[in-house]
Subunit: 456 residues, 2 copies
């Protein structure tokens, strides 16, 4: 495989810094750098070596730079790659990029280096997508999930599923060639067993998506409760105890988010509950709470905060039944235990599940709250090196895989003819292949890589 054009882009973040790296990839990479780098013929230098010298455009010295050479296929893209480590002046970098363009390169599109890596078979589509996830990762959990996929963990699992199914597909296709003879090469019992196994694995992956999504995008948390339950104090305590994340994650809209915190590598996005926090006193309280719930339905987790001096167990239980009715994940937070005898308080609310007793003001037991929040999210699902689906595209493809597996199962139960069964199996293989890119089309690839940064 190969393209005629050579691409160039700044690979490091823009801005004044010590250095900036410009990346060239394509057939003419070495030819282009040789036009700028005069002190030796880089064509003759071995791969994976580094050369220091001045870059010149005609008589004009552009920079003193460090040039790294990677010969295809032993490079990121699989093509000849040259990395120019220039001084960190955006002006100087632009001049070097302009000179590369003058000598035949063109500016790379977003993700085009990784797209070429995929098209050259250096990594599969799921791995390529994990590169973008790694770059935007900002917790150890998202970093771990991205690296696991990048290293092929996810792809390996899918490949195993696909290969087993392929074998059966081949046998069934063979049957079709001998259709007049009514033979069965593919053992239906074994196929049934395989489909069951596949369904189990697929469902496991599909279920991991919720966790995967949490890892990638964080957990949205709504802190709700009556006025004076201590919501602002709790918010401040959570922010102080956990590292607050200031930066935005690229590509996620979060106009409603107020604060982001990191507890044990999981991001919690504390949703703006301004409308709920400030009940004006002339609103009927219950009506106000109802509205809060409506607004909070989109949250992944609700922290229901109440003041132990002001809200009896019966009232809290009412809230809980409302949460359950609406299938909301909740954690009940009994606040202001500092004002009373803790043992008595605990007794008063005995029998209520998912409850934590704290004093937000005195920071008592707030570490228990942190732990419970993490527990609520993980619910025992995270195991080391387990495969977690973090990508919405993969999730939707897996859903299609699941549907076609069901169709195969039903088809076999109804003893449908081999040619119809083969169609369902092919559909299942198609969606499995779409995830890792064994099946792909240009539009899909363009869409996926357009979300990358330029230079990657």
């Amino acid at each position: 495989m190969g393209w005629d054009d050579t691409i160039v882009a700044l690979a490091t973040a823009p801005g004044v810094a010590a250095i900036g790296v410009i990346r060239l990839s394509g057939r003419r990479s070495f030819e282009i750098i040789n036009q700028l780098f005069h002190s030796k013929d880089l064509h003759k230098q071995p791969s994976h070596t580094i050369h220091v010298g001045f870059l010149r455009e005609g008589d004009i010295v552009l920079d003193e730079a460090v040039v790294s050479l990677f010969r295809g296929p032993r490079s990121y893209t699989g093509e000849d790659v040259v990395e120019i480590s220039a001084h960190g002046s955006p002006f100087v970098q632009q001049q070097i990029i302009d000179a590369c363009i003058k000598y035949g390169a063109r500016l790379a599109k977003p993700g085009e280096f990784t797209q070429r890596a995929f098209l050259n078979g250096k990594l599969d589509l799921a791995q390529a997508e994990a590169v973008a996830d790694l770059i935007s990762s900002n917790t150890s959990a998202s970093q771990k999930a991205a690296l696991h996929t990048m290293r092929g963990g996810f792809s390996q699992k899918l490949k195993e599923l696909r290969e087993q199914l392929l074998k059966f597909s081949a046998l069934i296709e063979l049957e079709l060639d001998f259709s007049q003879e009514d033979v069965e090469f593919a053992d239906r019992k074994q196929l049934q067993k395989l489909i069951t196994e596949l369904s189990f694995s697929t469902d496991q992956l599909i279920n991991s998506f919720q966790l995967g999504n949490v890892i990638k995008n964080g957990v949205s948390v709504a802190i709700i409760g009556k006025p004076n339950a201590g919501k602002s104090t709790l918010l401040n305590t959570l922010l102080n105890e956990n590292r607050a994340i200031v930066s935005e994650i690229a590509g996620t809209t979060r106009d409603t988010i107020e604060e982001i915190i990191n507890i044990d590598g999981i991001l919690f996005r504390l949703i703006d509950t301004a409308g709920i926090r400030q009940h004006s006193s002339d609103l009927i309280e219950k009506e106000g709470m109802k509205r809060s719930f409506e607004k909070m339905r989109t949250a992944d987790l609700i922290l229901y905060l109440f003041d132990v001096a002001n809200e009896p167990a019966t009232e809290v239980k009412e809230r809980i039944s409302e949460f359950r009715e609406q299938e909301l994940k909740y954690l009940i937070v009994a606040n202001k235990i500092d004002a009373m005898n803790e043992a008595e308080v605990r007794l008063a609310y005995a029998g209520i599940d998912n409850i934590v007793f704290i004093s937000a003001k005195e920071k008592r037991h707030t570490e228990v709250l942190n732990e419970r929040m993490i527990d609520m999210v993980l619910a025992g699902q995270i195991q080391t090196e387990s495969t977690v689906v973090t990508n919405a595209r993969h999730y939707h493809a897996l859903k299609e895989v699941s549907t076609s597996l069901n169709d195969i199962k039903q088809g076999m139960d109804n003893k449908i003819p081999g040619d119809l069964l083969a169609l369902d199996i092919r559909r299942c293989l198609h969606y499995l292949g779409e995830i890792t890119g064994e099946v792909s089309n240009e539009d899909m690839l363009d869409y996926i890589f357009s979300k990358f940064c330029i230079g990657k």
Copy 2:
């Protein structure tokens, strides 16, 4: 020379990008990277080679990275240097830096890599300072001046001056050893000739500072004139015709600047003349103009704009005499020639020097204005590859050199004894040496390098 500690820092601009480069320098660089990089022993790899692999902190995979090895003294700092090209996630980069620190590195101070390069004799002080200038360069003129100094052009010139003077110094010191015998080893006539030559070169360098400063920091330009002379239109025309620079140059205060444009590689900072532009009609006009002049005294260049239909030559000449009185550099801009016969207009203002006739509205002859602005600044001073002083520290040291040269000259005229002459020569040598760092002290170095970015 050597330091016990190994330093680490992010060398690329912070922010999400394709890649980010982390730099290690010091005795333990290879030992530290070996703790993270397990797939081969990097200690055994040759210098200037590149290695791809996973970085691990214990069991945890941090990233897949490209590691470049530079063995001292063949490195930027002269020490063992390792550059880690990591994925462009600030979170991942921080983890790698933290791991390096865990294994014995410490965070580098601003400019510490370049400071080590200087202390290890990889570049002299003037060259080191030019690295920072190159990084903050944002025009081809500033880039060229920085690269010229970086490549040793400036240092070479100083070294020549210094070596000649050193010879005489040695001879005069020798005379002191034989002071009772009243011999003259150092030919006073030759010394006189040398001092004259040195003074000429030094004064040339000192004079180049104004130009150097213009190249480095730009030219401040005030556009002044009566209301309705067309100042806003001219400003817009200049901005449209020339590339407007949006970014700020680090380290310069410019709260009064409104717009920055680049004409032929020279930056022009168009100073905010809001106070001058909007004369309220109830102010006596002359008083208003006087205030404007006061405010504009700090500008490098004044563009005095007038409407040819409203300001006769006599009035313009009055303005000019005021400019001259205050020793201001000015360019007279006769505007709105589109409304009249151009030849007649030119005749009406004949005899006025430094005048350009334009129509800002119709963009007529504005290219002439651009050229004249450049001419005003360069005044024939820029020659290819000529040495230009751009650094205030160098300028002040050169001033001291000039003073001590004068003292030597006067001393010789007054036939002062050799030991006094030797003192003046030593003083002169001291200041020459301070520029290139042959003479330096820790405070001075700390001050110089503290202005660098971290990672350089």
